[in-house]
Symmetry: C2
Subunit: 244 residues, 2 copies
Amino acid sequence: MYRYKCIISYDGTNFMGFQIQDDLRTVELEIKNALFKLTNEDIKIYSSGRTDRYVHALGQVIHFDLENEIPPLGLKRGINSYLPKDIYFKSIEQVDVNFHARFSAKSKEYRYYINKKEYSPLLANYQAFISYKLDYNLMGEAIKLFIGTHNFKGFSSSSIDPRKDTVKTIYEAKMNEYDDYLEFIFVGTGFLKYQIRRMMGILIDIGRGKLDINIINYILETQDTNILFKTADGCGLYLYQVNY
Amino acid sequence: MYRYKCIISYDGTNFMGFQIQDDLRTVELEIKNALFKLTNEDIKIYSSGRTDRYVHALGQVIHFDLENEIPPLGLKRGINSYLPKDIYFKSIEQVDVNFHARFSAKSKEYRYYINKKEYSPLLANYQAFISYKLDYNLMGEAIKLFIGTHNFKGFSSSSIDPRKDTVKTIYEAKMNEYDDYLEFIFVGTGFLKYQIRRMMGILIDIGRGKLDINIINYILETQDTNILFKTADGCGLYLYQVNY
């Protein structure tokens, strides 16, 4: 048995997320189909974690096992030739069978982009567009409040399994302002379902003056799920890299 | 009768080009539908010229007439609210009834982009990707040969109407090299069907060493249509602006 670690990128626009859901067009299904064409085997794929509908990846990591050894460069060329144009294998390396895309991951980095300029149809799927005036300085201050080890239950999906451990550590959370867009960087041990989009949603609501900056610490401390705020659009979110 | 000049942008990825073709999804049809919802009138649209399937626009210009006057700012807000997210009206101004989007145009600027880095699914619809090694300096020299007044018949579609005037003037043709991509700028009185994509196709064939640089002058002088070269992908092409 030969294990392969792959770094992949995809444009999330036309996928119903990463994880297989019957016959819906998902990233996992397209990869399984390409691997089947290449090897004639039904190969199980393990990812560092799923991504939602519309969410992009520049450095998603997956692993899978093959019965027969294929040199990584040939495997990369072969699988890319069978994939649709919105998924790409950037690198493939053979790894020890103890490597696991999800359980070996030490941290993950996500980035979120907001268009600062006028609406552009060419950016509609790649940066969030907010029609309100935002206080960038306040958002840059607010994002730092997420740094540290907290119970992020209040920033996850309401449908989250109550037995799930919702205490996570965020090592880095910062905003960079560029001429045309805002970039938000989050590095942490792991993120709950919708967590980044909910954290971004509250930053946007704070930036437009709808919520006070102190609401972040309040939700982190109390896990109060009665505060209403938006879940930011998936199209602005990128799984940037997974660190092992 | 009130005439309006509009500057519009669109992401060409999911359109069968600009011009209406029955019920196919075209830019013109979406604009007509939005105008109908806004005014309850069937309004004829005049553009500076059509764009092909997959081709984008940052500054396409159209005009149309309304029976009843609507202030430009309200019209912009109204029509944008009825349009799908891949078309956007950047500006609308009321103009003299002698203005014509096509016949009043003095020149048009197109830009073409080629990705210089590794393939990226996130750029697949927005920059051409060439899997051959290209000689950028040679392409930068070759593009200058298009400047001037020439018979561009050899760089148009083979299906072009033989009565059509194929003599056009290109004022500016240059290549800019950036870290991640090449940018090609063409400014001219007007361009024939497929002309920019055919000029780009020959530049790519010259850049990869398949054709000699002298082939450009040969085709411009002889209009020989027996030289085989590619029509570059539409996805790299942008109608950048129309000058009046």
